[in-house]
């Protein structure tokens, strides 16, 4: 029964004619775009990008040869054209109806108070709109801002009737309407929210710009706050990544294919390597060699012509490349051959949604087979207080659905002490967990690597010592004589000398 309902909804939505919003990423949130001949409200404080969204909507139509109309009751046509030109928009093919007050209005000769504006101006404004609509028969209308009509009504009931009948007139004339509102505590726009078919709320704080859809009649839409950017190219939205297994057929599939590191001992530890399409958490304290081990897998994959992408949050590209070269991990040629991409990310410049969109785009465009995020702490910074687990869950789920192996580098704060996989609760995301830790043996600080979880297949239950040398990563034979591995007191049993030998 539920399947039938779902199928019916999908069928009806698929049959509905959608109009491109013109804003990259927004259509994905709206289930494909605006539904034809409906009216959509764009809300937001001044400066949040309402007019820019409208310009995108109209230019997308104009590019397809559709008649488009911009009705302005605030900014003048000249101001809008100048602002659009400075953003690089071409407004060719867009007709304007400028209903903004002329400067003369403020001189004594034009200002008046004998009758209410509703009795003086509504009729000529209505006439101008009707004439324009009859003249160009627009399929897209952007109205900025409908709330200005409130001042042409004597009371809220009259405004409601006027606005409703106006939107209906445009819709029946064949237009899809996007309109804005200037709402405030003194003049809320609740009435417009009720009468429209969809609502896009734009928000801006000192950390990021975001939008959310709160209403979309006759269509599903993606919930949540989606971050967006206003750039020289206009508005770009990064939809929140939400796994949709039913719709996209994203059920995780383990193929049994292994991703080897190219180091026999490390692969032996993993009984052949990481499973394709799994998420691996590589965890350990600072400086223990997590990035190096991760880069070993990336280099090996890239060397096999499997596209590999590394996102680095905490160091620059050159710094990472030099560190790799210092231990004979030759990744530069792989970057040059485009089998390996290393993408530096400044977490304070990227929101989590933008980062997710970037990863999705990179993976889909380059057909990447393995992705490494270094580190979870850096990624967490881009979340700016949002829930790490749900965002990371969605991202790793997406990557898994594409058959991409993912390595998450996770740093532990404590250098020693009782064993922890993670201090931020990400272990549940992991199919595989590889840990590195320091050991103090015979008065020396040593490093060891082990596997604590591998969802698909078996793995070695013992640790191996790991050394990062100028010749590369070296792993010892399994350390079978260590005791107390999960405590702060690791002890070496007899004989001592064997431990030093590779």
């Amino acid at each position: 029964m539920e399947d039938n309902v779902a199928n019916f909804t999908e069928r009806t939505e698929a049959q509905t004619e959608r109009l491109s919003t013109g804003v990259p990423g927004l259509g994905e949130i709206l289930g494909g775009g605006f539904i034809s001949q409906r009216a959509y409200l764009v809300r937001g404080a001044p400066g949040t990008g309402k007019t820019i969204l409208g310009l995108h909507f109209l230019t997308a139509g104009a590019l397809q040869g559709e008649p488009c109309l911009f009705v302005t009751l605030g900014e003048t046509e000249e101001q809008i054209r100048n602002n659009a030109a400075s953003l690089g928009y071409s407004l060719n093919g867009i007709s304007f109806l400028d209903l903004s007050p002329a400067p003369e209005f403020f001189t004594e000769d034009q200002s008046y108070d004998i009758f209410h504006p509703a009795e003086v101006e509504r009729e000529p404004i209505t006439r101008k709109i009707i004439e324009k609509v009859e003249e160009i028969r627009p399929t897209r209308v952007f109205l900025d801002a409908l709330t200005q009509f409130r001042y042409l009504s004597t009371d809220s009931l009259e405004f409601h009737k006027q606005a409703f009948s106006f939107l209906r007139y445009l819709s029946e004339s064949g237009a899809t309407v996007v309109f804005t509102s200037d709402s405030s505590q003194q003049a809320p726009d609740d009435d417009l929210q009720f009468m429209c078919d969809g609502i896009i709320q734009l928000e801006c704080n000192d950390m990021e710009r975001s939008l959310c859809v709160t209403k979309m009649r006759g269509s599903s839409f993606r919930m949540g706050h989606h971050s967006f950017r206003l750039t020289t190219r206009g508005m770009e939205v990064s939809p929140v990544l939400v796994p949709d297994l039913q719709r996209e057929g994203l059920a995780p599939i383990f193929t049994g294919e292994l991703t080897a590191s190219g180091i026999a001992e490390l692969d032996a530890l993993l009984h052949g390597g990481l499973d394709r399409g799994t998420t691996t958490v590589l965890t350990g304290p600072s400086g223990v060699g997590k990035t190096t081990v991760g880069m070993q897998f990336m280099k090996a994959s890239a060397s096999r012509q499997e596209k590999a992408v590394v996102y680095i949050f905490e160091e620059g590209l050159e710094s990472l490349l030099r560190r790799c070269e210092a231990i004979n991990l030759a990744v530069r040629p792989l970057i040059e051959s485009q089998n390996l991409s290393v993408v530096p990310i400044e977490p304070l410049s990227f929101t989590a949604d933008e980062f997710s969109s970037l990863v999705c785009r990179d993976v889909e465009q380059s057909n990447a087979r393995i992705v490494m995020i270094d580190s979870v702490a850096g990624y967490r910074m881009s979340l700016r207080g949002k829930d790490l687990i749900s965002h990371l869950h969605a991202l790793t789920r997406f990557l898994k659905s594409k058959g991409v192996s993912t390595i998450l580098i996770n740093e532990l704060k404590s250098l020693s002490g009782d064993f922890h996989i993670s201090e931020i609760g990400i272990s549940y995301l992991a199919d595989d967990i590889i840990f590195l830790r320091y050991l103090e043996l015979n008065g020396e600080l040593r490093k060891a690597i082990g596997v604590i979880k591998k969802r698909v297949g078996d793995f070695e239950k013992t640790l191996r010592e790991v050394q990062i040398t100028p010749d590369g990563l070296k792993l010892s034979e399994p350390l079978t004589r260590l005791r107390g591995l999960l405590s702060s007191q690791i002890q070496l049993t007899w004989p001592e000398g064997g431990f030093n030998e590779f």
Binding site: E108, D109, Q110, S111, Y112, D113, I114, F115, H116, E119, V120
Partner: protein, 135 residues
């Protein structure tokens, strides 16, 4: 009612746009209008011999001498209504009635209200003209 027979309304307004809107409205309702924007023109209108049915005086923008003109209209038994801005209307009301105004309305007013008042005056005026006291 042909235009020559239409009642003549004296419209006094310092604001040109207000006066235009008032003239436009009164014309559409079939009145003839004598429009003035200054006290000098107001004087000339009151001194003329033409019969004025009623005056609509917007006091905004005029100085205190506007009330002398209002007294003049009272002496001539010319009915008039006063328009005043919303924030001055309450204070003006008492003064307006003392100077003989039949109505004091706050702006903005509605065309419906103004229409009802003017129709009432002019009907009353027609009835008074045609009143036959009988033998």
């Amino acid at each position: 009612m042909n235009s020559e027979d239409a009642p003549l309304i004296l419209a006094v307004n310092h604001n040109r746009r207000n006066l235009d809107l008032l003239v436009q409205f009164l014309s559409q309702d079939g009145y003839r209008i004598l429009a003035v924007t200054s006290l000098e023109e107001f004087d000339q209108a009151l001194s003329a011999e033409q019969r004025i049915e009623m005056a609509v005086v917007d006091i905004t923008g005029f100085d205190q001498s506007i009330w002398r003109h209002c007294d003049h209209m009272r002496r001539k038994q010319l009915p008039y209504l006063v328009l005043a801005s919303r924030w001055e209307a309450a204070g003006i009301q008492h003064r307006g009635y003392n100077h003989g105004a039949r109505y004091v309305l706050a702006k903005p007013t509605t065309k419906k209200t103004l229409r009802l008042i003017l129709n009432g005056f002019c009907r009353h005026s027609d009835e008074a003209d045609s009143f036959d006291p009988g033998p």
